[in-house]
């Protein structure tokens, strides 16, 4: 908590209904918040010998000391054991959740156990309640949000994290292992299956109402001054311009032109219809408004009007759908879908069911190729014959995955890596380390970054950017940059700053912002903290099963050329050796 150098944790045990508040000085001192605190709390409680969906496994969510009180410090970090990979799970979300938790008076939330029937949690400051959610069984994330909003107070100062049908436990059907947790409609704890973990606890939603007062720092003039400086850099420099203007979809077209946009299940790096689904086309034709997370003046959330006819006689229906580069890639280029309305349709269907769009897209891409090769038959998938670019069939496929009633539907719900273990076809999964890749096909650093990154995510270390900028492009330089970039991002995510503001919040600025609210950490100390947390997290990941080995990279990734040429297994193996050497040296010291 701000002003007292403690991390204030709310513990909720859904099995017993017990709740308690714990205050930890050691966590604040060593980890500040966000990634550091969430990683440490998971490390203390996770069971390496039990299934990720075992009720005893913990879910941790943490914010940071500057949450909401500085511009663009908007993220909450969740940690859990991932049901998708079986390994370490870490996922970040914006929306109003971090702000609500802050003003509810907590820096972290730890949920363990499982309720006997479906419930939702309401955290209104010190008042915490577990309520029945029987009526919400099978409800999609939009309706779930509405139903709970109508039943709780705190309009304007609340957040609702919820799962859709994909994450729920149901008879004769396991949860989709990449089910996500929706946050306030437009944001998500998107990757690695937090939704399935919440489902395994019979927890449909977590509503947080934050209405507590928090004193200004002692030296309020210093605080206001640094706030105004950061505010000015956020809004009046180019540091965050791209996120506000076209947003992340600005990448679609240039990546395709570069040959770096994964297309047709990564059989090629360019998409002939990229201009139809790029940021410019969406902005000109579909964009209706932008939205922001609480405390962010940028507003990167691009919201489209998905308008379609449903009957003759000029009958139209319309809904609002948020779009981003990763989503456009996952249900667009990767599936050969080049129509914007088709892209919006698939995003909406996947989102409402409560699934990670990237992982659902990579699963469908793999299944399409497997059907094309005759490995899978439509009869195994409710008769659905997947075809590149055919959005109607993909929409049916999404529904079949959520239902989980067919053999292929069930296996695709486990992710394409598990499905390929069962059916074959492991050579052409668009996944590394058990998780589908993000929308880049830039070179070694992207693939290696995905493999070595704690979240198996492009956000861990921005390998895609290293590929595009690094010179000389040597094995050593790539490995060192992947490690150094991730260690620095750990500082940013432990303060729980949105990584889109990483150009504003260099270590020096973070240090000054912390100082203005009475927390003394020099840039050097912050850097050292990031490096320490990096290697501590590596050890936790290894305890949960992570291995940095060449076998995690599918054959397909050595076939399809990148802008850095065709990747060679030998070079990847060499980089992994270099990484192991860095690891051994760091852990020895």
């Amino acid at each position: 908590m701000l002003h007292d150098d403690l991390v204030r944790i709310l513990h909720v045990d859904l099995t017993t209904g017990e709740m308690q508040v714990e205050e930890r000085a050691d966590l604040f001192c060593g980890y500040l918040g966000g990634t550091g605190v969430a990683m440490r709390l998971l490390d203390e409680r996770v069971h390496a010998d039990r299934d990720p969906l075992d009720p005893t496994q913990p879910v941790v969510m943490a914010i940071g000391p500057l949450t909401t009180i500085f511009p663009v410090v908007t993220k909450a970090v969740a940690t859990f054991r991932s049901p998708l990979t079986g390994e370490y799970g870490e996922s970040h979300a914006g929306g109003q959740f971090a702000a609500a938790l802050r003003y509810a008076g907590y820096d972290a939330l730890v949920v363990t156990g499982a309720a006997e029937r479906l419930v939702y949690l309401v955290i209104d400051g010190a008042h915490v309640e577990i309520r029945p959610a029987d009526a919400l069984v099978g409800m999609n994330v939009l309706e779930t949000g509405r139903a709970i909003r109508d039943r709780i107070e705190g309009a304007g100062h609340r957040s609702i994290v919820r799962i859709g049908p994909a994450g729920e436990m149901r008879p004769r059907r396991s949860a989709v292992r990449y089910a996500n947790a929706n946050v306030d409609t437009f944001r998500h704890f998107g990757r690695l299956g937090l939704g399935a973990v919440l489902g395994s606890k019979n927890l449909k939603a977590i509503a947080v109402i934050g209405r507590q007062h928090l004193d200004l720092p002692e030296d309020s003039r210093a605080y206001k001054k640094v706030y105004a400086e950061v505010y000015d850099r956020v809004l009046h420099t180019d540091a965050m311009k791209k996120y506000h203007e076209l947003g992340t979809p600005a990448n679609v077209l240039p990546l395709s032109e570069l040959g770096a946009l994964p297309t047709y299940n990564v059989r090629q790096g360019y998409f002939g219809e990229a201009d139809q689904i790029g940021g410019e086309a969406f902005a000109e034709n579909e964009l209706v408004t932008k939205r922001a997370c609480a405390g962010c003046q940028i507003g990167c959330i691009h919201v489209a009007l998905y308008r379609r006819p449903f009957a003759p006689g000029w009958e139209y229906e319309s809904t609002l759908v948020a779009y981003d580069h990763e989503l456009i890639y996952a249900v667009g280029s990767l599936l050969g879908v080049g129509d914007r309305r088709d892209v919006l349709r698939l995003i909406e269907e996947i989102d409402k069911a409560g699934m990670d769009t990237i992982s659902c897209g990579t699963a469908l891409a793999w299944a399409t190729e497997a059907m094309e090769r005759g490995l899978l038959e439509p009869e195994q998938f409710e008769g659905i014959d997947l075809r590149w670019g055919d959005a109607e069939r993909y929409a049916q496929g999404v529904a079949a995955i959520v239902r989980g009633e067919s053999e292929v539907g069930r296996w695709l719900g486990q992710g394409e890596v598990q499905a390929a273990r069962h059916f074959g076809g492991a050579g052409y999964v668009a996944a590394v380390g058990g998780q589908g890749i993000a929308g880049y096909w830039t070179g070694y650093a992207h693939v290696l970054g995905h493999l070595l990154g704690a979240r198996h995510s492009h956000l861990d270390n921005a390998g895609y950017a290293i590929d595009q900028k690094l010179e000389p492009y040597t094995d050593e330089a790539i490995v060192d940059r992947i490690i150094a970039d991730e260690a620095e991002r750990i500082v940013q995510t432990s303060v729980a700053i949105c990584l889109f503001a990483r150009g504003v919040y260099d270590l020096e600025t973070i240090s000054r912002a912390l100082d203005s609210v009475g927390i003394q950490r020099s840039a050097e100390q912050l850097q050292a903290m990031g490096e320490r947390i990096y290697w501590e997290r590596v050890q936790l990941r290894e305890r949960l099963g992570f291995r940095a080995q060449l076998e995690e990279v599918p054959q397909r990734f050595f076939e399809t050329p990148t802008p850095r040429g065709r990747l060679e297994p030998g070079r990847v193996a060499h980089m992994l050796e270099l990484y192991q050497a860095r690891r051994a040296a760091a852990l020895a010291s």
């Binding site: 701000l2 909401t68 009180i69 511009p71 702000a99 003003y103 309009a155 304007g156 100062h157 934050g210 209405r211 507590q212 007062h213 928090l214 004193d215 200004l216 309020s220 605080y223 206001k224 706030y227 505010y231 809004l235 408004t289 932008k290 939205r291 922001a292 997370c293 609480a294 405390g295 962010c296 003046q297 940028i298 507003g299 959330i301 609002l320």
Partner: protein
């Protein structure tokens, strides 16, 4: 000429809470957006939109001034809105109850109302120019 706060361009609002945080920080000595005289909400309706609950600076007779049993609230020069003197306030809540647009909040810690002082800090920290201080006759 007195200035009043207006919200003429709320269709541009991104819901960032920056105005509420500014009011809390600059006026109410708080880090919490709950302590702000401007409150941003989303409203459902058929499509949903962002709205600003702000003091409309009523013309004379100003309702909150009328009900105030002390001189804590007096009519501003120029006859639009009020001037608030905390020292005179006896925490009776009458202003909160009478406000026709229900925008006077309550500061639990201070046990005093949260009222707009027409300083324009919220408009200054609005990144999309949704808010505007306007001179009134």
């Amino acid at each position: 000429m007195p200035k009043i706060l207006t919200a003429p361009r709320m269709a541009r609002c991104i819901g960032c809470d920056s105005c509420m945080l500014a009011c809390a920080r600059m006026v109410y000595k708080s880090l919490s957006p709950y302590k702000s005289a401007i409150q941003i909400r989303s409203r459902g309706g058929v499509m949903g939109r962002m709205v600003a609950n702000i003091c409309t600076a009523c013309a004379e007779p100003v309702p909150c001034v009328e009900v105030c049993p002390t001189d804590a609230l007096t009519t501003r020069d120029g006859g639009r809105g009020m001037v608030y003197r905390k020292a005179e306030c006896i925490s009776c809540h009458k202003c909160v109850e009478v406000c026709p647009v229900q925008v006077i909040g309550w500061d639990q810690e201070e046990d005093k109302p949260i009222v707009c002082i027409f300083c324009g800090q919220c408009a200054r920290f609005c990144p999309h120019d949704c808010l505007e201080m306007v001179e009134v006759a």
